[in-house]
């Protein structure tokens, strides 16, 4: 077993043996996860050495501006990063005793106690975790459902794939049942649906009912374009729950919806989460959603989790100036101080070549110091509590005017480097 | 950039540049098209021989790099039966005829170069005609909608029901019976001005070039006429959506005349997909023209399709006669298609596979 390692200086320690230390309630421990996109313009470091944990039955929030890498981080969890993106390093430890037993002998380095590192599992197995282990709700329900297949059928598919998987748990083949082009041609020409069964369709209808869709039996046979946005998001949630996942990842589930609908969907998610005791990773740019839904929260900036901890830790005693800025930008009804403090500057480029070895927030940071011009590890924010961690030198020392960088430091450097 | 009343936004130009830089294929396409255009325009300057001049003694010479073992057959009729004496003669290629010669001893390279003229002329003129016709119909239908739209689009449906090649051979075949002149002969300015002669003397190719060039007018008219539908469909779609734009509504509210609105507002905004379609259509019409000349429905003998049809009878003895013009067609159509892909990727007008051969 691993030694008790301090939360400090964890970032660089990629020893790769054993799951990171944590709370026994953890269901997911993400460590040092990096995802990069290799584009014609260059390498983009969308997710950079991210660490966090998710516990049983809690809602973990990831908050950040758009472009901060939070969606990519979510996709990395479920291994859905598309080319040209690739997860380049890191571990995703997932607690599943059965799975751990199965691989304990064959892949000892991927198993630690009840935890398995999904990154080290064979791809087929990793894929098989989608549905029963992880599932995801996406931002735009309109584009996240196949427009040419009925809603019920799509949910039934999700049910069916798990039904088949249970019948033969470790064979990925059993889920496809040789569903290839030949079968597609038959399915296209003949009006029967070759994949799903009647029972899975019934289950789909149940699920639709569960997420609060009226007349589910009829609506199951309708197509996505016949649904309203809110209804569609409910259907998406039903689809995501079809596999009874341990971890449900909700990527901006309410952003594309009317404000009035947003609350309904959040309530639904909350209710279902409590009912089914599922863990939820809630990804949003909306601090209000975080405040309302989450137990713990991670703040992302430029691909990194810059601060994480319990809701109270982060909201009430933020350490990182970025977190402070974020929270400062919420109008607080209790404290009618009219002066909001928006964060100056723009989200930084994630192009590898343009990211120096420094705190990425330094160029926008009101408290930037010369210490910030180096790689910043993760520090424990509060003594004795490794739950609240922050990537900022301010966790270790006080801000000092003397070390402050000149206001135009980054502008000058840009000119020197000749960047646009 | 300003092209007449049509403006192309800087963003479009930037996209074009970006796509061009990132796509080697687009560059190949531009080079191929440039070659074809240069060959077509400057044919009288660069063709090594007069494409019509025959030299029966030099017939069926192989292209450079090949030798041909020709079986010279002397035939005599004795009592109604043929007696042949065959001897094998090795025929060597000469640099004078780099692509060989055909059965009449005409230089294949010169014919391929002049054939580019016919293909390009018919391709461009036919496309312009089809575009004028189709865009007019399409804009009218899309702008006025209602009954006019219905009537015009049903006409388009009827027109679509006749495959363009079938309609083209029917029209050419039926109309050219009594009016034998299916072609219009124009004088070649490069030759009549003496420029070609001067240039050729200078580079040491003193052969006189044909003073006139044949434009197969009936073919141009027919290919233009049979391909208007594709333009009509695109233009109509664009007009339907553009007429709902606020600025068009505003122009209408201000009492602008329909013609003015269409020309000032609708057409310029519909021009991108039309241009992309036009590019693809040039390729389609070049293929159509070659098919027509291959089938013998053409107004000129200086055409790739015609040469292929002629060479077909010599496949076993002189494969190059049918092969060279075929390669010319393939390369020029590839060039246009590559440029079409480039424009489509850069401008993204959302047309796919419209327009046929």
């Amino acid at each position: 077993m691993s030694e008790p390692a301090p939360a400090t200086a964890r970032a660089g320690a990629a020893d790769g043996h054993g799951a990171p230390e944590g709370n026994p309630d953890d269901v997911l421990r993400v460590r040092n996860l990096s995802t990069r996109f290799f584009t014609e313009e260059g390498q983009i470091n969308a997710v950079e050495s991210v660490d966090f944990t998710v516990r049983d039955g809690e809602v973990f929030g990831i908050v950040g501006e758009s472009g901060s890498g939070k969606s990519v981080a979510a996709l990395s969890l479920i291994d859905l990063v598309d080319s040209p993106g690739r997860i380049t390093s890191g571990e995703v430890w997932y607690r599943d005793a059965d799975l751990a037993d199965e691989f304990r002998d064959d892949l000892p380095e991927a198993v630690d106690g009840d935890f398995v590192d999904t990154r080290r599992l064979p791809e087929g197995v990793r894929r098989a975790l989608r549905g029963p282990a992880f599932s995801m709700v996406f931002q735009d329900p309109m584009s996240s459902l196949n427009p040419s297949i009925t809603v019920g059928e799509q949910i039934a598919e999700a049910v069916e794939v798990q039904r088949r998987a249970r019948a033969n748990p470790r064979s990925t083949r059993s889920r496809t049942q040789e569903y290839g082009m030949g079968r597609l041609i038959v399915d296209t020409l003949l009006p029967n649906r070759g994949y799903t069964s009647e029972s899975s369709m019934n289950r789909a209808i149940e699920l639709l009912e569960q997420v609060g869709i009226p007349d589910p039996a009829e609506r199951a046979h309708e197509y996505p374009h016949q649904f309203s946005g809110g209804m569609l998001q409910r259907a998406m949630i039903a689809q995501a729950l079809a596999g009874e996942p341990d971890v449900l990842i909700a990527d901006e589930p309410t952003t594309a919806l009317d404000v009035t609908i947003q609350a309904q969907i959040l309530n639904l998610l909350r209710d279902l989460q409590e009912e089914q005791d599922t863990s939820v990773v809630m990804i949003t740019h909306d601090l209000g959603v975080i405040a309302r839904m989450c137990n713990r929260v991670g703040v992302m900036y430029a691909g990194q989790v810059v601060e994480r901890g319990t809701l109270a830790d982060v909201f009430e005693s933020p350490v990182h100036p970025y977190t402070e800025g974020l929270i400062g930008s919420i109008p607080d009804l209790d404290d009618p101080d009219p002066r909001l403090q928006p964060i100056g500057g723009n989200v930084p480029s994630l192009l590898d070549e343009e990211m120096g070895g420094r705190c990425f927030f330094a160029d926008r940071c009101p408290k930037a110091m010369s210490d910030c011009l180096q790689d910043i590890p993760e520090y424990a924010a509060d003594e004795g509590c490794d739950d609240h961690a922050v990537r900022c030198v301010l966790a270790e020392r006080e801000y000092s005017e003397a070390d402050a960088l000149p206001a135009d430091y980054f502008d000058r450097n840009k000119e020197v480097r000749g960047d646009e | 950039m300003k092209i007449g009343p049509l403006s192309i936004s800087p963003r479009t130009i930037r996209n074009l540049r970006k796509e061009f830089r990132s796509s080697g294929l687009a560059r190949i396409g531009v080079v191929l098209i440039a070659l074809v255009v240069l060959a077509a325009v400057f044919a009288p300057l660069i063709a090594p021989h007069n494409p019509r001049t025959q030299n029966l003694d030099r017939a069926q010479l192989p292209p450079l790099g090949f030798t041909d073992t020709e079986q010279q057959t002397q035939t005599k009729i004795v009592d109604g039966s043929v007696q042949t004496v065959t001897r094998n003669v090795t025929v060597n290629a000469t640099a004078t005829y780099p692509l060989g010669t055909n059965a009449l001893g005409q230089d294949m390279l010169s014919r391929v170069i002049y054939g580019a003229r016919t293909s390009l002329l018919v391709g461009l003129l036919g496309t312009v005609l089809a575009a004028l016709l189709g865009v007019t119909v399409g804009l009218t239908a899309g702008y006025y909608r209602g009954r006019i739209d219905d009537a015009l689009m049903r006409t388009a449906d009827v027109s679509l029901a006749f495959p363009s090649l079938v309609l083209a051979i029917a029209l050419i075949g039926l109309f050219s019976r009594f009016q034998a002149d299916v072609a219009y002969r124009v004088s070649d300015p490069l030759v009549t001005s003496g420029l070609a002669g001067w240039f050729r003397d200078m580079v040491g190719l003193p052969t006189p070039m044909p003073e006139t060039f044949v434009i197969p007018t009936v073919v141009v008219l027919v290919v233009g006429f049979v391909n208007w539908v594709w333009f009509a469909r695109i233009a109509r779609g664009e007009a339907l959506s553009i007429r709902e734009e606020e600025y068009v509504k505003a122009a209408r509210a201000l009492g602008g005349s329909d013609v003015r609105i269409v020309f000032r507002h609708v057409l310029p905004n519909a021009i991108t997909p039309i241009l992309v379609l036009a590019t693809i259509q040039v390729a389609a019409i070049i293929l159509l023209e070659s098919s027509l000349s291959f089938l013998g429905f053409s107004g000129t003998t200086l055409s790739w399709g015609f040469d292929i049809a002629q060479g077909r009878g010599y496949l076993s003895s002189s494969w190059w006669i049918a092969t060279m013009p075929g390669i010319a067609i393939v390369l020029s159509v590839i060039g246009i298609n590559l440029v079409g892909d480039w424009l489509r990727d850069a401008l993204d007008p959302g047309i796919e596979g419209e327009g046929g051969m």
């Binding site: - | 019509r52 001049t53 025959q54 029966l56 003694d57 017939a59 069926q60 079986q71 057959t73 002397q74 035939t75 005599k76 009729i77 109604g80 039966s81 043929v82 042949t84 065959t86 059965a103 009449l104 075949g173 050219s176 019976r177 009594f178 034998a180 013998g296 003998t301 002629q310 077909r312 009878g313 010599y314 496949l315 076993s316 003895s317 002189s318």
Partner: protein
């Protein structure tokens, strides 16, 4: 006398115009006349004569029909209303699996084919086109002829040498000036089993010549001068044929035309049926008919003569010569028609196939309209002839499958003038003649059909290129569809014709008149020329008895 002349004249004129389309289209109908009547006399040392202006030489008035026709040919040679080109050959590709000799009249009779190897006793022929329906009396072109003649027979036919032989008639004779009598063969049955009766023969003749009987047959003019037929005696099996006047070539006509059909079969079916089925007396009967695709025959085992050697015969078509050759070489076909010169060596060098060729009855020429500038000048017309290198065209374009000509009439025909040689190539002389004609600097355009005659386009392009070499004439060739050209030359009005055009003319009668009359006499159906002297020579020739007929 004069009246009689006129009527003969008119008769020939009608015959000429009627055969026009047929002859043009490459479908000479008549069988080979008896072998060439006379060997050409020795013409050595006479060649200079042909290049002299002939008008200056006094020649005695001829006294025979042959003499007048030879004089007419000399006139044509001198006045050069055409650019004289060549005599076309019929070139076949033949598989070694069969024994068969080609005929001059372009007909392929499967009865004359014998299997040569034991690779089966059926054969396939590929011609350039399929039939225009199977009614033997409702067509007039060679491809259909070759199909219907396998199943239908006439009263008389010609053997390979061209002599008239009896087929469905056992006897034929002239009763008086306007009546001839045929005796119909007994014990002949149609494919259906019906017996051939004199009634069938009379009906078949009437179906051709009388519009009121059956159909308006396009073959009526092939039997021109025949008014009708009736059964003379059923017991004697005789049929009398009534003529409109004295018809010197009536038996020749019947030896070529008039297939005999079964009257009861014809009258009980509609045209569509008759065009898709066959009911003849011939050595083969129809097995399968796919319109425009193929016709399959099987042997008629009840044939009145010895049954055919082949058990089956299939005719299909490919308009592309290379396709036909490929079929022959691939063993898909046993006989193919019209092998182009460039394919000859391929066919001959291939194991198991060879080329078989005969000179045909077709002459290829470029007509020059006498009424338009610059062709109005005989000097200019001669100049064009001198400019053409006929030798080179025959050698290089036709690869020797052609004989150069210098007069309208082909060697071996009645009226052929053996003293006339083809024009030699003489560019200086041609240039000088152009200057003398006063048309220096003329621009002329030769119209040619595409693919109708062997290498027609290439020949026209060669001619144009050679004439273009004259420094004082610009010439080029332009091709048109054959149907376009035909529609222009057959209007009967000289103004509708192109100024200069390539044409071929098949004349199956082996008589000079059938070429000169329709093409060059001032009242010819397809004429491009008008000259009183030539008309006079023809009139004289037609008023005299013919040794050959």
């Amino acid at each position: 006398m004069a009246e009689k002349d006129t009527s003969r004249r008119r008769f020939l004129q009608a015959a000429g115009s009627a055969t026009a389309a047929v002859a043009l289209a490459g479908c000479s109908g008549t069988g080979g006349e008896s072998s060439p009547t006379e060997e050409p006399t020795d013409t050595s040392g006479d060649s200079m004569q042909t290049t002299e202006p002939q008008q200056t030489i006094e020649r005695p008035e001829p006294s025979t029909r042959d003499g007048y026709l030879q004089r007419a040919n000399r006139h044509c040679h001198d006045q050069a209303p055409w650019v004289f080109l060549h005599r076309q050959y019929s070139v076949y590709g033949v598989s070694d699996d069969i024994n068969w000799q080609p005929r001059r009249d372009e007909r392929v009779d499967a009865y004359a084919i014998e299997p040569a190897t034991d690779s089966g006793d059926s054969a396939v022929m590929t011609q350039s086109q399929m039939d225009s329906g199977l009614d033997p009396q409702d067509h007039r072109e060679t491809p259909t002829d070759n199909i219907v003649l396998q199943a239908y027979e006439g009263l008389l036919e010609r053997d390979r040498q061209g002599a008239i032989i009896e087929v469905l008639a056992t006897d034929y004779r002239r009763l008086d000036e306007t009546t001839v009598q045929f005796t119909v063969r007994d014990n002949v049955s149609f494919h259906s089993g019906d017996s051939l009766t004199p009634e069938d023969v009379a009906y078949s003749i009437n179906r051709i010549v009388k519009e009121s009987v059956g159909i308006a047959s396009p073959q009526s003019d092939q039997l021109v001068g025949v008014a009708g037929a009736e059964v003379a005696s059923s017991d004697d099996r005789t049929v009398n044929v009534n003529l409109t006047g004295l018809n010197p070539i009536v038996f020749q006509s019947f030896a070529t035309y008039c297939d005999i059909m079964n009257k009861s079969w014809v009258t009980s079916h509609d045209n569509a049926y008759i065009n898709q089925n066959m009911e003849g007396t011939g050595p083969f009967k129809l097995a399968n008919y796919e319109q425009g695709v193929a016709v399959e025959f099987t042997r008629n085992d009840n044939y009145w003569q010895e049954a055919a050697a082949l058990s089956g015969f299939t005719i299909n078509a490919a308009s592309e010569s290379s396709t036909r050759v490929n079929r022959l070489l691939a063993g898909e076909s046993d006989i193919i028609v019209n092998v182009p010169p460039q394919e000859v060596s391929r066919v001959n060098n291939n194991d198991g196939t060879s080329v078989s060729a005969v000179p045909s009855t077709r002459v290829i020429f470029n007509a020059m309209r006498y009424d338009v500038e610059p062709f109005v000048s005989p000097l200019f017309r001669q100049a064009v002839n001198y400019a053409v290198d006929l030798e080179s065209i025959v050698q290089n374009v036709l690869q020797t499958f052609g004989d150069p000509t210098g007069q309208p009439t082909l060697e071996g025909f009645f009226g052929y003038n053996p003293d006339l040689d083809p024009y030699p190539r003489d560019l200086d002389r041609a240039e000088q003649l152009v200057e003398e004609s006063g048309y220096a600097g003329a621009e002329i355009e030769l119209i040619t059909p595409i693919g109708r005659y062997l290498k027609d386009v290439e020949i026209a392009q060669a001619v144009a290129a050679q004439v273009d070499e004259l420094p004082n004439v610009t010439a080029r060739a332009r091709q048109v569809e054959f149907s376009t050209l035909v529609s222009q030359v057959t209007t009967g009005k000289i103004e509708d014709k192109p100024h200069w055009y390539l044409l071929g003319w098949g004349n199956a009668t082996f008589d000079a008149v059938q070429t000169i009359q329709p093409l060059l006499a001032s009242d010819g159906a397809l004429t491009s020329y008008k000259n009183d002297e030539l008309d006079r020579l023809l009139d004289e020739a037609q008023s005299l008895p013919s040794e050959s007929n």
